[in-house]
Symmetry: C2
Subunit: 257 residues, 2 copies
């Protein structure tokens, strides 16, 4: 089976043009089939301010009304996605930017209203593996943004981490998938105040230990939970590191079963 | 050779949700390979106003500074493109929205500064026919927006009419291309005040006659000039009509050699 590199980058990388550029250069140089998934939260927030559109967050989750969804679509699928694609093309990586609606790549269902109405937020229902396989076979690199659709004409805001994990799982019968999450730190840290205290490997046993000792911070818990879930579902390897993870000798945290 | 329907729709269609929806339903129902190209001028202008970004027009052409280009990318490649793609998916048309950077589909060169600096405006240099052929072979329908790139990482604003004609010409060795321009009127009119005075056929002789009599309005002159140029370069047939052109018994103007 071919190796497939699936990489997710967060808003904090996208917001820093130099960091993004260096990352994209490294990403473009990766050999073999690859996919990039990007978020972009803060850019949408700053545009919302400029346009006097209210942004509501509950438990760190965006409540997506119609005006927010329009902004997200403009920023994620427009500004960020096309800027990333154009830069990758300049580094000779044949990138193709998509939302979930494009090629019907990833489909979601509007989250049901329970205690909270999340608005136009979608939970993934299906990854179109046929589309991804065909595109990858043409040596084209999909660049996926955090906008999905419901196949009824409605675009939906969907978490980028979740999209990355779901594509990784869906393609794992066809590729040895290495899923890499790039964020602002060098990996999962033993000591949040020491950027060099990267934990090299976390397996389920170590995970329990870290949780018990309170070493893993709140934001990291769902991330790691999703990582173990993806490994159970067939993803070969998961790495968490900085945008410099593909540079030489860089450290990262490997999550393994 | 297979027939290929290549359709261009303007901003005035995109701005009216009901007109757009009806058009997309008709477009989705077209059999065989097809491509849609869209502009979106007025939406970008209204967003610019909201954000206090100045829009400069000279001779009806937008002067594209960096802030304008960002807006255009958000509106054309984001909001409009993804809305069109999601709607087409709901009509069972497997649409894929692209800019020129995606799949390196269409490349342009920043217009040289002469009397006027157009800013980030690009004149097309190359259509990636291989990309379009591969995508069409997968029964995927490309939805092209008026944003191109220079392969050096720079996105550029490029006229949608020109993109449509250039793709039509580039694909004419492989398909019998029927290029359709949809705009606010039913076709080229003999009398601008009578929407039913559609001229059924314009050939070069009739074109000269209409020009001499002053019947063709200013905005239509470059459009028709480009049509004859595209016919000379291999496009099979060109039609100019309303967004209802694919409905039964609808009239249009056929441009022929």
């Amino acid at each position: 089976m071919d190796k497939l590199q699936l990489v997710k980058i967060g808003g904090n990388i996208i917001e820093n043009p130099n960091v993004l550029r260096d990352f994209l250069k490294d990403f473009a140089a990766l050999q073999g089939p690859k996919i990039l998934v990007h978020g972009g939260g803060k850019e949408a927030t700053s545009l919302a301010k400029k346009m006097n559109v209210e942004v509501a967050l509950v438990d760190g989750r965006r409540i997506t009304n119609a005006a927010n969804l329009e902004l997200i679509t403009m920023v994620y699928a427009g500004k960020i996605n096309k800027s990333v694609v154009a830069q990758l093309q300049s580094f000779s990586c044949n990138a193709l930017g998509i939302s979930g609606a494009d090629g019907n790549a990833y489909t979601a269902k509007k989250r049901a209203v329970q205690e909270l109405d999340y608005g136009f937020v979608g939970d993934l229902t299906k990854i179109n593996t046929g589309f991804f396989k065909q595109i990858l076979e043409q040596n084209i690199c999909p660049i996926c943004c955090a906008v999905s659709h419901d196949q009824q004409g409605q675009l939906l805001n969907t978490n980028a981490d979740t999209i990355a994990a779901a594509i990784a799982v869906a393609l794992s019968p066809y590729f040895e998938v290495i899923l890499t999450y790039c964020f602002e730190k060098n990996g999962v840290l033993e000591n949040l105040h020491d950027p060099n205290s990267v934990i090299p490997v976390i397996d389920p046993e170590r995970y329990e230990e870290l949780k018990t000792n309170g070493i893993i911070a709140e934001g990291m818990l769902p991330k790691l939970h999703n990582c173990f879930d993806a490994l159970e579902k067939g993803v070969q390897e998961i790495r968490i590191g900085s945008p410099k993870i593909f540079s030489k000798n860089n450290r990262f945290t490997k999550i393994q079963k």
